[in-house]
C-alpha cells in the first residue's frame, strides 16, 4: 500500500519547546562547486564602519562581472556536502548522530512559510528518503535558467539579486580585520563577486520531540571566531532591502523581517544586519537587529503580526511531528530506503510515497540524488 498523507496548514501543535541549537561542524563550498569539509576558508568577517555609509556605495557596480556559480550542471540543492560533513563528524565521534531529520535550513523555512504564504510565492516541491531511521529532505532542483541572472542582467529582478551579494561583499572581509592589508580594504568596492563561495554550518536543533540536523549558509562572523566548534553566537545574517519611507514600506519590511527571523531562529543565529538601498541601488543606511527582539518589534509595530512568531513555532512543531509519524523509520533496517514526495497544495502539505515504477525512484533510492554512496557505506560500516 502506498503511503499518502496530508496536513492542513492551520494545524498547530501545543509545543513551543525549541532545543538550543548547537553547531556540530561546517564546510565551505568553492566557486567551482567543490566541498571542503571542516574548512572555514569561505567564512567572511563583518566590517562596515558607520563612515562607509557616507561613501555612496553602489550596489550594482560590477554586475557585469558577476560570476554565477549555480550553473545548469550543478545541483545547488544537493545534500552531499552536508552529508560528508556529517560523516566526518560521526567518524570522529564513532557513532551515529541521533537526529530525526537531516536537511537544509531553506527547506524548513519554506515549510514554515507555507502556513503564511500561498504556494505561488512559496513553492514546495521536496523529496524525502527514509534511511537508517532518519529522514533526508532535499529540494528538487529547479530549472536554473529561469532564475539565472545570466539571462538578463538588466532586469530589476537580476539587479535585486545581485545587490544582495554585492552588499555582502561590501560589508565583509575574507579575513579578520587585523589580518587584512589596507589595500585590500580600499579595493573592496571593486572586488569581483560570485555566489559560489559559501560557508555552511551544520547545526543540531529541534522542536518538541523532533531532533533536526540543519545545514545553513552563514553570511559572516560578526565579532570574532572562537577555536571551538560552536560559533553560532558569533554569526550574523546579512540582508539588503529597499528603503523604508512610508508606513506601507514599514509593513512590507516587517514581513521581510519575519522571514529573516525564521531563517535565523531556526539555527540560532542571533544577529541580523539590514542594508537599505534606494531605487538606484545606492546603499543608504544599515541597521542592526537581534533575532530575539524581532518578535517584539513585530508585535509592537504591526497589529497583523501580533502572534505570527508563536504561530510559526507551533506550526513548525506540528508539521515535523506529522512527518515523523507519517513516515516509517525502521531503526534496525539499514538496507531499505524509501522515497517520498512532499508538496504544498490547497493549503495542505501533501506527502506521497514514490513507488519503484516512478521515473525518479531509481535516482532517489539507488542513485545519489539525495544520499551519496559514501554516506550510505559509512552508515553500513558503522553498524558492523
Amino acid at each position: 500500500m502506498v503511503l499518502s498523507s496530508s496536513l492542513f496548514v492551520q494545524k498547530r501543535s501545543t509545543t513551543t519547546a525549541l532545543k538550543q541549537p548547537k553547531e556540530l561542524g561546517h564546510y565551505s563550498r568553492t566557486q567551482d562547486n567543490g566541498f571542503l569539509v571542516n574548512d572555514d576558508s569561505r567564512l567572511a568577517y563583518y566590517y562596515l564602519p558607520d563612515t562607509d555609509l557616507d561613501k555612496k556605495l553602489d550596489l550594482l557596480s560590477g554586475i557585469k562581472k558577476f560570476k554565477e556559480c549555480n550553473t545548469e550542471e550543478f545541483d545547488s540543492t544537493t545534500l552531499h556536502g552536508l552529508l560528508s560533513t556529517l560523516e566526518e563528524y560521526e567518524r570522529r565521534k564513532s557513532k551515529k548522530t541521533k537526529v530525526d531529520i537531516i536537511t537544509f535550513r531553506g527547506i524548513i523555512r519554506k515549510l514554515i512559510s507555507s502556513a503564511f504564504d500561498s504556494s505561488q510565492f512559496n513553492p514546495v516541491n521536496f523529496r524525502i528518503v527514509s534511511f537508517d531511521g532518519q529522514l533526508f529532505i532535499k529540494e528538487v532542483k529547479t530549472d536554473a535558467s529561469e532564475t539565472s541572472i545570466n539571462k538578463n542582467r538588466e532586469s530589476l529582478q537580476a539587479r535585486a539579486y545581485y545587490s544582495g551579494y554585492k552588499f555582502e561583499a561590501l560589508a565583509t572581509l575574507s579575513l579578520p580585520l587585523p589580518l587584512v592589508p589596507r589595500t585590500t580594504l580600499e579595493k573592496r568596492p571593486k572586488k569581483i563577486i560570485n555566489n559560489g563561495d559559501q560557508f555552511i554550518s551544520m547545526v543540531r536543533t529541534g522542536i518538541g520531540k523532533c531532533k533536526i540536523l540543519i545545514g545553513a549558509e552563514v553570511d559572516c562572523i560578526f565579532d570574532f571566531k572562537e577555536d571551538s566548534d560552536d560559533n553560532l553566537k558569533h554569526y550574523a545574517e546579512l540582508k539588503c532591502t529597499t528603503m523604508v519611507n512610508t508606513v506601507s514600506d514599514a509593513h512590507k519590511f516587517e514581513r521581510k523581517l519575519f522571514k529573516t527571523w525564521l531563517q535565523c531562529f531556526l539555527v540560532g543565529i542571533n544577529r541580523i544586519i539590514y542594508g537599505f538601498r534606494d531605487d538606484n541601488f545606492m546603499l543608504k543606511t544599515v541597521e542592526e537587529f537581534t533575532t530575539s527582539e524581532v518578535p517584539l518589534i513585530l508585535k509592537n509595530n504591526n497589529p497583523q503580526m501580533q502572534t505570527v512568531c508563536v504561530d510559526a513555532i507551533k506550526w513548525y512543531g506540528a508539521f515535523t511531528e506529522w512527518l515523523l509519524t507519517s513516515i516509517p523509520r525502521p531503526e534496525d533496517d539499514i538496507d531499505t530506503i524509501k522515497a517520498y514526495k512532499l508538496i504544498f497544495e490547497n493549503n495542505h502539505l501533501k506527502l506521497t510515497e514514490i513507488e519503484s515504477d516512478d521515473e525518479e525512484y531509481k535516482q532517489l533510492v539507488e542513485g545519489e540524488e539525495i544520499l551519496s554512496n559514501s554516506f550510505k557505506q559509512w552508515r553500513k560500516d558503522l553498524r558492523k
Binding site: P49, D50, L53, P178, L179, M243, K284, E287, S292, L296
Partner: protein, 991 residues
C-alpha cells in the same frame, strides 16, 4: 615633551577637559577608612588604566611643593600613596599597566642625555645655594641640625634604567600590586602588567605597543575604555594615534588656582614637623583632571572638515595628518622647524595650508604611520613661502612685547617719572656713567663700569677705597673687559654698516666680514633702532664669547674638503664651551640673508658648504619625521637611528624630498649600562657600577670626550632656561659600546643581573578567571612552556610563562620596604607570571574597529561653529569645573540613524511628533520600553549590563540625537549587544 601644547589645546578646545570627581576617605572614630574600590566610579567605569610611571616617580622623589622624602624607602611609599590615589580615581576593572621607562631608542637618548647633564648641573648649583643659605642662617645664630646640613639634593638621574634605584622600584611595585591584589576585594579581577625599566622602550610607547597588540586580537572588544595617566602632552597624540575613541588622559590639574603659596626651596630646608605635614597635606589635595580624546576627536572633526572634496574624506586619516603636523611644532626626537612653535598658533597655520594642499594632492600626508612624501613636500613648500613673513611677524611681536614690558617697568619703578597716568615722557636713566673728557673720550684712569657693575662690585669699590690692591685690580679688569669690545677702527665700522644695510649675504660673503658686522651691530646699537631690544638681554660676557669665535671659524674654513659629497663637518657642540648663548641673535631671522647666517652660526660651516650641509640636514630631518611617525603608529622602526644635528632646517629647504628613499634598520636596544653610559654625566656616576666610573672622569679614558663638565646651552631664541638646547657632543655608538663592553667581565653577579633585557610581569589575584588555568599549567606538576590566552575571557590577551625572576606557591613574599607598616604576603593569594604581548600580524591600520559605538556627542552646534568659523572662544577655567563627559559607548548600535532605515523611520517620525506634542510622545516612548520575555538564546557573554535605567536619562535630554535613537533599539536591551558596556551607574550618579 611638548609642555605648552597641553595649555594651547585646552584653551582652543575647552570641552576636552573635565574635572576628576574624587571621593575622600571617611574618618570614623579617628580612623581613616579606605575607599571602596569596587564601588561605582563617579567618573564613569573604566576597563584599562595605563600608568606612565615616570610621571609618578619624578614628582614623588623630588617634589616641587613639599619637602622631599628623606630616604628611598620613603620615596617608594610616596609612590605607592600617589599611585593608590590615581587608581581610586580611575578604578580600572580589567587591566592596569604600569610602565616605567626602559632603555630608549637612540633617537630619544640625545634628549635624555641633555636633560640629565643639565639636571646634574642644576643639582650642583642647588646644593651650593643650599649651603649658602645654611651658612647665612648659621651666621644669624640659627642652630641647624647636622642631619639637615649633610643632606644633599637627591640626584634624580637615578631614575634611569639600570640604576640600583630602578631595581628597587621594580621590586617595590611588584610587592605593592601583589599586596593590593591579595587584600583589596575591588582588585580581584584586575590584571596587572608591570613593565619595569628592564623592558626596553619608553613607558608611554610600551603602553602604545600594548594597546596595538590588544587591538590586533580578533577577540578585542572595540568599546574598551582606556585611560592613561601621565604628564606628557605627547600622550594626547598617542591617544589619538591608537584610534581607540573611548580614550582619556588623567593628569594633575595645571590650571588649578593654588589657594596657597608655593613654598620656595630654601624655605623648605629646616621645617618643623608640623609645617612639613601641612605642606604634605596641601600637596596631596592637588586636583586632577581628565582630558577626553573622544571630545577632542569631535572638535577635530569640525576643525579638519574640508567641504567639497573630490574624494572620500577619511576622518581617521585626517587625524593622523593632524598628529603629524603637530610633530612639526615640537617633539622629543627632533628640533622643531624654526618658523613653527606651539605657542604661536603654528598648528593653525599648518592646518590652513593642509586644507589647501589636500584637494590638490588627493591623498593624505600619512598612511598608517608612513609618510606620503609628495603631499608633505607640497605642504612644506607652502609653509616655506610664508616662512620669511613668519619670522618678521614674530620679531615685531617680540619687540612690541618687550617695549610694553619695559615701559610698564619703568613707569612703575622710576621715581623721576610723575605718577600721573598721562605723563609718558619719562627719562631713561643712564646705564653707564663713565667720566668723559671734553673730546668725548673716556677720562683717563676712569673706570668703564655700568651701574650694574657698580652695584655688584660695591664691596670691591669699598675695599679699593680703603686701599686694597686686589680689589682695585678686579675693578680695573672689569673695566677693561667692558671696553674690550670696542676695538674696531672707524674704517671697519663703516664697511660693516654698508654690508648690513645692503643686507643679502650670499654664499660668497666671507665669514670674517659678517663677524665684524655683527660686532659692529652690537657696538653701534644706538644707531640700529631695532636692536634696542637686544641690548637689554645681552650681557657683556656673551659679547666676549662672540669675539672668540673668530679664529676657530677660520679654522673650520680651511678644514673643509672642496666639493665632497660627504656632509661637511659640523661643530655640533658650538664654539663656546659653557654658559648660555643665543645663536638666534646673530642669525637675525627677521633680516634678509638669515638663511645662510642660520647654517653658518648654528652649524658652524663655511658658506660654500651650505648646500651640501642643507641637503644632508633635510634628508636626516625627513628620516626623522618618518621615524617619529612610525614610532607612534607601528612601534620603534630603529633602535639606533637618531637625528644627528642640534637644529632643524628651514621649511623652504625641503625640495625634491619625494624621491628620498627612507628605510630603517631595526637594530637592537642598548643594555641598561650602555644606556646609562650614554645619558649620564660624570657627576651621576654613582648610579653606575664602580668599574664604569673612571670611564667618565679619567682624562685618559677613551671616551672622556662624551662627558664634558661644561657645555654651552643655546637659547635658540627662547626665553626660559629649560627651553635652550644643550650643545653636547653626540655619542659615537661603536666607540662607546666597545669601551663599555670591555668592562662587562669585571662586573659582579648582582651588577650583571641589572644589565639585562626582561619581559613584562603579569600579576593576577587568585580570584581571576585565568588563575586556575595558569597556576595548574605553569606552577603545577607538569608545567608547560607557554600558555596563550585571548581577550574575550578576561579583557587581556597574550602569552604567559613562568615568572623569569621566579615565583613559588605556598611561600611568602617579604615586604621590601621599611617603615610603611606593610605586611609579608602569602604567595597563594596571587600569581606572578612573565607576560608577552600578542604578535601583531601586518601593519596596524588607522581605523575604528567593527562594533565601535560612539560616545554621546558633547559639542553643541555653537561649539562646532566656533571651530569652523574661527570665532574667538574665550577660555574660562570655570567652564571646565562643570564639564561632565560621559565615558564609553552611548547606546548599543554602531550606526547613526540615517533616512531610509526601518528604525530611523520611526525615529524621525517620532522626532517630528515630539516637537509638536511632547507630552504624548513621552508616554508613547514609555510604552515602548518593554523588556522581551524570556529570550530563547543566550547570545553574548558581554552581557554584563542592566540597561533598564539608562534610557530614562535620555527622556529629557534634548541635545543628544543618538541618545534618543537608542530607544529604537530598546527592545533588544535584554539580549544585549556584545559590544556595549554598562555605564548606567555613572548616569545615576549624575542624576
Amino acid at each position: 615633551g611638548v609642555p605648552s601644547f597641553f595649555r594651547w589645546l585646552s584653551r582652543k578646545y575647552p570641552k576636552i577637559i573635565s574635572p576628576v570627581l574624587e571621593e575622600y576617605p571617611v574618618i570614623e572614630d579617628g580612623v581613616q577608612l579606605p575607599l571602596d574600590y569596587s564601588s561605582a566610579n563617579p567618573n564613569g567605569e573604566l576597563d584599562n588604566l595605563y600608568l606612565d610611571m615616570n610621571g609618578i616617580v619624578h614628582p614623588c622623589s623630588h617634589p616641587e611643593n613639599k619637602p622631599p622624602p628623606e630616604t628611598e624607602d620613603e620615596m617608594l611609599l610616596a609612590v605607592f600613596e600617589y599611585t593608590n590615589r590615581v587608581l581610586n580615581m580611575a578604578r580600572p576593572r580589567k587591566v592596569l599597566m604600569i610602565a616605567v621607562d626602559g632603555v630608549a631608542p637612540r633617537a630619544k637618548m640625545n634628549q635624555q642625555r641633555a636633560r640629565r647633564f643639565r639636571s646634574a648641573r642644576d643639582a650642583k648649583l642647588q646644593n651650593e645655594a643650599r649651603e649658602q643659605v645654611l651658612r647665612e642662617r648659621e651666621d644669624y645664630g640659627e642652630t641647624i641640625d647636622e642631619n639637615v646640613k649633610s643632606k644633599k639634593t637627591w640626584d634624580s638621574n637615578a631614575i634611569t634604567p639600570g640604576t640600583p634605584f630602578m631595581d628597587k622600584l621594580a621590586t617595590a611595585l611588584r610587592y605593592w600590586t601583589s599586596f593590593k591584589l591579595a587584600t583589596d576585594p575591588g582588585w580581584k579581577n584586575l590584571q596587572i602588567i608591570i613593565s619595569d625599566a628592564t623592558v626596553p622602550g619608553e613607558g608611554e610607547h610600551k603602553i602604545m605597543n600594548f594597546i596595538r597588540s590588544q587591538r590586533a586580537d580578533t577577540q578585542y572588544n572595540p568599546n574598551t575604555t582606556h585611560c592613561i595617566y601621565g604628564l606628557d602632552a605627547d600622550l594626547i597624540f598617542l591617544g589619538l594615534a591608537t584610534h581607540e575613541p573611548h580614550f582619556k588622559i588623567l593628569r594633575e590639574d595645571v590650571f588649578a588656582n593654588n589657594n596657597y603659596k608655593k613654598p620656595k626651596p630654601q624655605d623648605m630646608i629646616n621645617l618643623s614637623e608640623e609645617e612639613k605635614q601641612q605642606l604634605i597635606q596641601q600637596d596631596s589635595e592637588k586636583p586632577f583632571l581628565w582630558l577626553h580624546i573622544s571630545v577632542l576627536r569631535e572638535y577635530l572633526s569640525a576643525e579638519l572638515a574640508i567641504p567639497h572634496l573630490s574624494f572620500q574624506f577619511d576622518f581617521e586619516r585626517a587625524i593622523d595628518d593632524w598628529v603629524f603636523m603637530c610633530f612639526f611644532c615640537g617633539n622629543d626626537f627632533l628640533p622643531h622647524l624654526p618658523c613653527l612653535d606651539v605657542r604661536e598658533n603654528s598648528i593653525d597655520i599648518l592646518v590652513d595650508i593642509w586644507k589647501t594642499v589636500l584637494p590638490k594632492t588627493k591623498t593624505y600626508l600619512t598612511c598608517d604611520g608612513t609618510l606620503n612624501l609628495e603631499p608633505v613636500e607640497a605642504l612644506l613648500e607652502q609653509l616655506g613661502d610664508r616662512e620669511t613673513d613668519l619670522f618678521k611677524k614674530k620679531y615685531i611681536q617680540e619687540v612690541r612685547k618687550q617695549e610694553a614690558h619695559d615701559r610698564r617697568k619703568k613707569l612703575k619703578s622710576n621715581p623721576n617719572v610723575s605718577q600721573g597716568k598721562v605723563d609718558r615722557n619719562f627719562m631713561i636713566p643712564l646705564e653707564n656713567m663713565p667720566v668723559y673728557d671734553v673730546d668725548g673720550n673716556a677720562a683717563e684712569g676712569s673706570l668703564n663700569l655700568s651701574n650694574k657693575d657698580f652695584a655688584n662690585m660695591r664691596k670691591e669699590i669699598n675695599l679699593a677705597n680703603e686701599g686694597d690692591g686686589e680689589a682695585a685690580k678686579a675693578l680695573k679688569l672689569k673695566s677693561e673687559k667692558n671696553s674690550g669690545v670696542v676695538e674696531f677702527s672707524s674704517e671697519e665700522l663703516k664697511n660693516s654698516v654698508q654690508l648690513s644695510k645692503t643686507a643679502n649675504y650670499d654664499a660668497a660673503t666671507s665669514l670674517q666680514e659678517k663677524l665684524i658686522a655683527k660686532k659692529m651691530a652690537m657696538r653701534d646699537e644706538e644707531n640700529a633702532e631695532e636692536l634696542s631690544l637686544k641690548r637689554k638681554s645681552e650681557d657683556v660676557d656673551s659679547a666676549e664669547k662672540e669675539t672668540s669665535n673668530e679664529p676657530e671659524d677660520d679654522e673650520a674654513d680651511y678644514d673643509e674638503d672642496e666639493g665632497s659629497t660627504v656632509p661637511p663637518a659640523v661643530i655640533h657642540t658650538g664654539i663656546v664651551k659653557s654658559g648660555f648663548i643665543d645663536t638666534d641673535e646673530s642669525v637675525r631671522l627677521y633680516e634678509p640673508g638669515y638663511h645662510d647666517r642660520y647654517y653658518q652660526h648654528k652649524f658652524h660651516v663655511p658658506a660654500k658648504d651650505i648646500p651640501a650641509l642643507q641637503k644632508d640636514v633635510i634628508r636626516c630631518y625627513v628620516e626623522g619625521i618618518s621615524w617619529v611617525l612610525l614610532y607612534y603608529y607601528q612601534g620603534c622602526a630603529s633602535w639606533t637611528w637618531y637625528y644627528p644635528y642640534h637644529y632643524a632646517p628651514f621649511a623652504q629647504d625641503f625640495k625634491n624630498i619625494k624621491n628620498l628613499d627612507i628605510h630603517f634598520d631595526l637594530g637592537e636596544p642598548f643594555l641598561p649600562y650602555e644606556q646609562l653610559m650614554s645619558v649620564l654625566p660624570a657627576a651621576s656616576g654613582h648610579a653606575l657600577p664602580e668599574i664604569f666610573r673612571p670611564l667618565m672622569s679619567d682624562p685618559n679614558s677613551e671616551i672622556i670626550d662624551f662627558y664634558p663638565e661644561e657645555f654651552p646651552v643655546d637659547m635658540n631664541g627662547k626665553k626660559m632656561a629649560w627651553q635652550g638646547i644643550a650643545l653636547l657632543p653626540f655619542i659615537d655608538e661603536t666607540r662607546l659600546l666597545k669601551t663599555v663592553r670591555e668592562q662587562y667581565s669585571k662586573l659582579s653577579d648582582s651588577e650583571k643581573a641589572r644589565n639585562v633585557r626582561k619581559k613584562d610581569a603579569l600579576l593576577i589575584s587568585n580570584k581571576n578567571v585565568n588563575y586556575d588555568l595558569f597556576m595548574k599549567n605553569l606552577y603545577g606538576e607538569n608545567p608547560v612552556n607557554v600558555i596563550e590566552f585571548r581577550h574575550f575571557k578576561s579583557g587581556l590577551s597574550g602569552f604567559v610563562t613562568q615568572a623569569e625572576e621566579g615565583f613559588e606557591l605556598n611561600s611568602k613574599l617579604i615586604c621590601p620596604i621599611n617603615g610603611g607598616g606593610l605586611p609579608d604576603l602569602s604567595t597563594n593569594l596571587f600569581l606572578k607570571l612573565s607576560y608577552t604581548q600578542p604578535v601583531v600580524a601586518g601593519r596596524c591600520k588607522s581605523l575604528v574597529l567593527n562594533g565601535y559605538i560612539p560616545p554621546q556627542p558633547m559639542l553643541t552646534p555653537q561649539d562646532r561653529d566656533c571651530i569652523i568659523y574661527k570665532y574667538s572662544n574665550r577660555w574660562n577655567p570655570s567652564m571646565m569645573k562643570y564639564n561632565i563627559v560621559p565615558v564609553g559607548p552611548s547606546g548599543i548600535t554602531q550606526y547613526q540613524p540615517r533616512v531610509g532605515g526601518y528604525r530611523s523611520f520611526f525615529f524621525h517620525k517620532e522626532q517630528t511628533a515630539y516637537a509638536q506634542q511632547p507630552q504624548q510622545n513621552r508616554e508613547y516612548m514609555h510604552s515602548q520600553q518593554r523588556q522581551p520575555q524570556g529570550s530563547r538564546y543566550q547570545q553574548s557573554r558581554y552581557n554584563n549590563g542592566n540597561y533598564n535605567n539608562s534610557n530614562n536619562g535620555y527622556s529629557d535630554n534634548n541635545n543628544g540625537n543618538t541618545g534618543k535613537y537608542n530607544r529604537h533599539y530598546n527592545n533588544s536591551r535584554g539580549n544585549s549587544n556584545r559590544y556595549s558596556n554598562s555605564n548606567d551607574r555613572r548616569r545615576e550618579f549624575r542624576r
